[in-house]
C-alpha cells in the first residue's frame, strides 16, 4: 500500500505547491523513484509549471451526468422537481414546461428514481480533464483541471483520485486552498497531512480553521512553517500551546521567491534547501 500524504494550508499562497514539488523531487532522490504527485487544486492546477520537460501520457475528459426531460413522456407531475434538493428542475404544468438547469445539477440521480414515466434520461456533460504526465524523475504527475464555468470541483477531485494507480510507494496530493468540501475530498483518505503555513496573522488564522477541520475528521497532521522570518511569532506560540509538531521550517528568501516566479524550483537547488527537505522527509517517514 502506498503511503499517502496530502499537502494543505487553508490560506492560499503559503507554499503548498512549492512544498509538494520539492517533496516529490527529494523523495525521488533520497527514498524511492516510485513517487507519484497528484495536483488536486483542480481550479488552479500549477504543479505542471515546474516540470518543463514533462510529457503527456494520457488525457481523459471527465463528465457529469445531466438529465434531460423527454416532453413526450413527461406528465408534468412535478415529482422530479420536488425531489431535487438543488432547485435544478423547473416544471410549470399549465404551460407544459419542464427543464433541468445543468449548472445547478449535482448528478445525484434522485429525479431518475422519482420519475414514474421514464421521462428522464442522462447525458454526459464535461466538467474537466484528468491528465497523466511523465516527468524526468519519479512516477509522474497526475493533474485534474476544472472546466471554466463548472462548479463540480469536488467531483473532479474524486474522479482524479480514483484514477491514480496504487503502484507508487509514496503518493502526494497537492490540495486546493480553503477548508470546505474540495479540501476534505483531497485529505480524507491520506495517511498524514502536511499543513503549510506562513507566520503572519492571515496564515495563522486560516491554519487554525484547517486544524479544526482535521480534528473533526480525525486525520493526523504536522506543520511546515514556510517563509519563516516574515511576520511574527504568534504561529509558534499557537503550535506550542496546542502541542502541534513542526515537521519543518523554510526561511523566507526573496531570491527563492524569484525562482518560484520563473517556474525554476527544481533547478540549482541550494544545499540548505536540500537539507531542509531531507529533514522533513525523515520526519514524515517516522509518521508513516
Amino acid at each position: 500500500m502506498a503511503k499517502k500524504i496530502a499537502i494543505a494550508s487553508g490560506k492560499g499562497g503559503t507554499g503548498k505547491t512549492t512544498v509538494s514539488v520539492n517533496l516529490y523531487h527529494f523523495i525521488n532522490k533520497f527514498v524511492t523513484p516510485k513517487v507519484q504527485l497528484v495536483d488536486c487544486d483542480v481550479e488552479e492546477p500549477n504543479d505542471l509549471l515546474f516540470f518543463k520537460d514533462s510529457e503527456e501520457v494520457t488525457k481523459e475528459t471527465i463528465n457529469q451526468l445531466i438529465p434531460r426531460i423527454d416532453n413526450d413522456k413527461c406528465t408534468y407531475c412535478r415529482k422530479c422537481a420536488e425531489w431535487c434538493e438543488y432547485n435544478a428542475i423547473v416544471v410549470i404544468p399549465p404551460v407544459q414546461f419542464a427543464e433541468v438547469n445543468g449548472s445547478l445539477c449535482h448528478s445525484c440521480g434522485a429525479c431518475l428514481v422519482a420519475c414514474e414515466f421514464d421521462a428522464m434520461k442522462e447525458y454526459p456533460e464535461p466538467i474537466g480533464e484528468v491528465t497523466f504526465y511523465k516527468t524526468q524523475e519519479g512516477n509522474g504527475l497526475a493533474e485534474g483541471r476544472l472546466k471554466i464555468g463548472s462548479a463540480m470541483q469536488t467531483m473532479l477531485i474524486k474522479e482524479l483520485k480514483k484514477r491514480v494507480p496504487d503502484d507508487a510507494e509514496w503518493i502526494l496530493f497537492d490540495a486546493p486552498p480553503g477548508t470546505s468540501c474540495p479540501v476534505v475530498e483531497t485529505v480524507s483518505d491520506a495517511d498524514y497531512i502536511v499543513l503549510v503555513t506562513e507566520p503572519t496573522p492571515f496564515g495563522l488564522h486560516d491554519l487554525t480553521l484547517m486544524i479544526e477541520m482535521l480534528k473533526d475528521i480525525k486525520q493526523p497532521f504536522g506543520v511546515i512553517v514556510n517563509k519563516a522570518g516574515l511576520g511574527n511569532n504568534e504561529v509558534y506560540k499557537y503550535l506550542k500551546k496546542e502541542n502541534i509538531e513542526i515537521i519543518g521550517e523554510i526561511p523566507f528568501n526573496k531570491s527563492y521567491a524569484s525562482k518560484y516566479a520563473a517556474g525554476n524550483l527544481l533547478k540549482d537547488i541550494s544545499p540548505e534547501t536540500e537539507q531542509r527537505y531531507k529533514e522533513i522527509i525523515e520526519n514524515l517517514k517516522k509518521k508513516l
Partner: protein, 287 residues
C-alpha cells in the same frame, strides 16, 4: 451603486491586503468578505458584530440503526459513495461525503433514514472603522460556499441601498469554482490582483476566461512586481491582448506584512509608502 469584486485565481497574491488598503481610501462603501472558506478581512477590520445569522446549508443524512434492516438499497443508490458498511454490521453515512440529495431517505423502504440541514455556518453584519462589513464563518468541511457567498453579497447590496452607500467592495475567494462564480456573477467591475509568477499568470488567465463569459469590465494591479520582471512583461502582454487596463505595479514591501501584523492596512501603517500612494490612484481609477 457600484459593486467591485477583487479576484486573483491564485491564493496569496494579496487580495485581502489590497482590499483593506482600498478600504482606507474609499469612503461611502460597504465591504463584503466573499472568501467564506478562509475569511481574513475581519483580522484587519476588527469588526464589532451587530447581527449574527445562521446559514443553513445542505442536508446531511443519518441512518438510524434500530430501524435499519440492512437491505442496502440506500448504499446502491448513493452516487457520492457516502454510505458505508460498518465492520460489525449495519450502515452509516459519512457526513463529509454526503451531498444532501436525500435520495437515500426517499428510497429507504422502512424510513430508517432522516436528514437534517447543517447549521454550522454563520454570517454577520458588523460595524467597522471602514464602514459596514458583511462577513461569514463557514463550518469546516461544509459545502455550498457558493450559496453563502450569494447570500452575503445580496445582504451587502441591501445595506448599501438602505444607507445610501456608493459602493459594495467584495474581497473574493481564490480559484474559479463555485465560490468564485458566485462572487463574480452580476458584479459591475472586477479588479484582478496578479502576482508576477508563472503560477500567478497561469491562474489569472483562467479567471479572465471565467469573467469573459459574464462580460464584466476588469482592471488589474500587479502585486510584488519586482519579484520577477520578466514575468511582469508576459502579464502586461496578456492584459494588453485582453484590453484589461493595468492600473499599478505595486512593489514587494515588508511593510505590507508589518501592517498586517499590526492589524492595520498599509495606508494606515504608512500613508507615505509607495504602495499607499499607488492604492489611492487605483481607487480613483476604478471608483
Amino acid at each position: 451603486m457600484k459593486e467591485i469584486t477583487i479576484l486573483s485565481g491564485k491564493g496569496g497574491t494579496g487580495k485581502t491586503s489590497i482590499t483593506a488598503a482600498i478600504a482606507s481610501v474609499a469612503d461611502n462603501a460597504v465591504f463584503c468578505d466573499n472568501d467564506v472558506d478562509a475569511a481574513d478581512l475581519h483580522l484587519i477590520f476588527k469588526p464589532k458584530v451587530l447581527e449574527e445569522h445562521t446559514f443553513f446549508s445542505g442536508y446531511k443524512a443519518t441512518i438510524h440503526d434500530d430501524e435499519c434492516t440492512r437491505c442496502g438499497i440506500c448504499y446502491d443508490h448513493c452516487r457520492f459513495d457516502a454510505i458505508h458498511y460498518k465492520d460489525l454490521g449495519g450502515l452509516y453515512v459519512n457526513p463529509f461525503q454526503c451531498e444532501g440529495c436525500r435520495l437515500c431517505e426517499r428510497v429507504c423502504p422502512v424510513q430508517a433514514i432522516t436528514s437534517k440541514r447543517s447549521d454550522n455556518n454563520y454570517w454577520f453584519i458588523s460595524e467597522t472603522r471602514m464602514g459596514k462589513l458583511v462577513h461569514a464563518k463557514m463550518g469546516p468541511g461544509e459545502e455550498n460556499s457558493g450559496k453563502l457567498v450569494s447570500e452575503i453579497r445580496g445582504r451587502a447590496k441591501e445595506i448599501a441601498k438602505e444607507t445610501g452607500a456608493g459602493y459594495v467592495i467584495n474581497d473574493g475567494p481564490p480559484g474559479i469554482g463555485c465560490a468564485a462564480i458566485s462572487s463574480v456573477t452580476g458584479t459591475d467591475t472586477v479588479l484582478l490582483v496578479i502576482e508576477p509568477t508563472h503560477s500567478g499568470l497561469h491562474d489569472i488567465k483562467r479567471v479572465v476566461d471565467l469573467i469573459d463569459s459574464f462580460k464584466i469590465p476588469s482592471f488589474a494591479v500587479i502585486n510584488k512586481y519586482d519579484i520577477n520582471k520578466e514575468v511582469v512583461g508576459e502579464i502586461e502582454e496578456f492584459l494588453n491582448r485582453n484590453n484589461i487596463p493595468l492600473l499599478a505595479n505595486l512593489p514587494f514591501d515588508k511593510q505590507m506584512v508589518e501592517a498586517m501584523v499590526n492589524g492595520q492596512t498599509i495606508v494606515e501603517y504608512n500613508p507615505e509608502s509607495e504602495i499607499s500612494k499607488k492604492i489611492k490612484e487605483v481607487w480613483e481609477k476604478i471608483r
